[in-house]
């Protein structure tokens, strides 16, 4: 099955010949995306220029860029951004390393290879919200799994979810636990597509395992690593449900990621104009990253 998009027209006549059919083929998707995506995004821009309260009898007031300026002055906004960046910088490299090591482990054929691979994928298929719930449960000091570890070590249990640093660590651990199989299976798939002769010929030439890895495997693997990291980056930028269920952004503001801070502003403090302005900034960050990455990664596919 080929994955490449082929945009050369061989149907003879192409768009003009099928104009009417195309309206029906593409129409529903385009109308739909316009109504529920593009229009709301434009409306969001409009809302973000207003002092707009969710539950209030006072009509929204046009205030220009004030919401954006307030956000840039808001220490909690910067705090959320800092948490987001720290999280990305710690979690994604660790996921990559674990995924890569396990993927390499699977390169030599052994008995039970397939079933092991399948079992390792299970955490990846656990829904984020359920994963947050499970971790919250495990971290209960008295009756959770963590309590058991403290018991075995003969120590008084510590409540992770009331300590800011440990809570942040727990969110990272949760994320690594759930998503490293994605890195693993992506890199495993890429590794399996390499020609075997390449490695063998290098070994015949006297290269040791580490040399083979650094000089041959790693350069060939780089495109897959970039794609996997990019997709994880996009997901990490909008992390919400697992954190919401696990910590609700607390204790204090220790795990208030951007999405959670925006959510709280809109539905706890009812300041939806302000929330929209921050949402817009998040959208722009995500789109800049994805346009840049897509133009690099999918260059051959899209041209």
């Amino acid at each position: 099955m080929q994955n490449k998009l082929d945009f050369t027209d061989r149907s003879g006549g192409g768009i003009s010949r099928h104009l009417f059919d195309n309206v029906i083929f593409l129409g529903p998707t385009l109308i739909f995306l316009f109504a529920i995506l593009i229009y709301p995004l434009i409306y969001s821009l409009y809302v973000s220029f207003h002092d707009w309260k969710l539950v209030s009898t006072v009509p929204p007031k046009l205030i220009g860029f004030t919401n954006y300026i307030n956000a840039l002055k808001d220490p909690l906004f910067w705090n959320a951004l800092r948490i987001q960046v720290t999280f990305i910088l710690i979690a994604i490299p660790l996921e990559l390393i674990i995924g890569l090591l396990v993927a390499l482990l699977f390169q030599v054929e052994f008995f039970g290879n397939r079933i092991m691979r399948t079992l390792l994928l299970i955490p990846f298929f656990v829904l984020p919200s359920l994963s947050g719930l499970m971790w919250r449960f495990m971290l209960q000091p008295r009756y959770g799994l963590i309590g058991n570890i403290y018991y075995l070590l003969n120590m008084e249990p510590v409540d992770w979810l009331s300590n800011p640093r440990l809570t942040f660590l727990a969110v990272i651990l949760q994320d690594i636990w759930r998503t490293w199989p994605f890195m693993f299976i992506t890199l495993y798939a890429a590794l399996s597509n390499f020609p075997k002769e390449l490695k063998e010929s290098a070994e015949i030439d006297g290269a040791n395992k580490i040399q083979v890895f650094l000089k041959i495997i790693l350069p060939l693997l780089t495109p897959a690593i970039v794609v996997a990291c990019f997709l994880r980056l996009i997901d990490a930028l909008r992390i919400f449900s697992e954190v919401y269920v696990m910590t609700e952004g607390g204790p204090g503001h220790a795990t208030t990621f951007l999405s959670i801070y925006i959510y709280k502003n809109a539905f706890r403090f009812f300041n939806i104009g302000y929330a929209n302005s921050m949402g817009y900034m998040l959208t722009i960050i995500a789109l800049l990253i994805s346009f840049y990455a897509l133009s690099k990664i999918y260059k051959e596919e899209l041209s």
């Binding site: 059919d21 995306l33 359920l130 449900s241």
Partner: protein, 284 residues
């Protein structure tokens, strides 16, 4: 032969540790779902249960004072909401996106620009889209209905499914279409009787995946719903966990109910799922 055998054993031991470490949280959830109520809060926590029970599923566990839910019975309306929303989302998404994908794959409508625009929709943070949608739906008075959730779920499933289906349709030789045209079939007939059946595995995979995406979605449903009328199962669980003294047994049981279909479908559709998740960048 002998060397291979020794390597196999060593790997198994190493992998067994990895597996044990990473699958333990799931094991914990599963045994909690089957623990009788007196074992939920025992000290030290019980790792290997002495006694298993179905009470948490059937709703016979007594619970205790202050617990918010003592049986899985409460989840029935939420289960209904989840099922209806996910089924309708999946059905509409499959129809709309296969039409769009066919047009993009065969007639190159919109060319590269339209295709990359569709991919980039997946990159949008949902919170930014759902805030204005909340305000618009509030004016239309359709908040807290199945329709509201379905419409927004579709925004995130259609681009995903269209993108993957484009590559499926590209895999079907163009000569087949052309032969059908020469025999006098219209574009529609060709699509319905020829292309659709030929790409049935791909279409079925996308239907399943959009079902899973909608089934497990949290943020959109959290914002757009507010009552038992339309709240989905993940929201129900997420809401009750914040209560004091949570009845962990029934919660874990409800968690299993959410998780099992996802895991079964995901494994059945593993290949397509991974291709979709990497947007075809990695062939698996």
């Amino acid at each position: 032969m002998k060397k291979v055998f020794v390597i196999s054993i060593l790997k198994w031991i190493l992998l067994f540790f990895i597996l044990f470490f990473f699958l333990f949280p799931i094991y914990w959830l599963v045994i909690t779902a089957f623990k009788p109520s007196q074992d939920w809060f025992s000290w030290p926590p019980i790792i290997i249960p002495r006694q298993l029970t179905f009470e948490n599923f059937t709703g016979q566990s007594r619970g205790f004072e202050g617990s918010l839910s003592s049986s899985i019975e409460n989840i029935v309306p939420y289960l209904r909401n989840s099922l209806i929303i996910a089924l309708i989302t999946s059905a509409i998404c499959t129809i709309i996106s296969s039409l769009a994908a066919y047009s993009i794959a065969r007639f190159k409508t919109g060319g590269r620009r339209l295709a990359s625009w569709i991919v980039s929709i997946r990159m949008l943070p949902p919170i930014a889209t759902v805030l204005p949608v909340y305000l618009l739906f509030k004016n239309l008075r359709i908040l807290d209905t199945w329709l509201a959730v379905i419409l927004v779920h579709l925004v995130f499933t259609i681009p995903f499914s269209t993108w993957v289906l484009i590559s499926f349709f590209n895999g079907i030789p163009k000569e087949l279409d052309e032969a059908a045209y020469i025999d006098g079939a219209s574009v529609w007939k060709t699509f319905i009787y020829l292309i659709f059946p030929l790409s049935a595995p791909g279409v079925a995979a996308m239907a399943t995946l959009s079902f899973i995406m909608s089934w497990g979605e949290f943020l959109i449903a959290l914002i757009l719903t507010s009552s038992v009328k339309s709240q989905t199962l993940p929201i129900f669980l997420g809401r009750y966990i914040t209560g004091f003294r949570i009845a962990w047994g029934p919660l874990a049981a409800a968690g299993l109910v959410i998780m099992i279909p996802v895991i079964i479908f995901s494994f059945a559709m593993q290949r397509y799922l991974l291709r979709g998740l990497t947007f075809g960048a990695v062939k698996y």
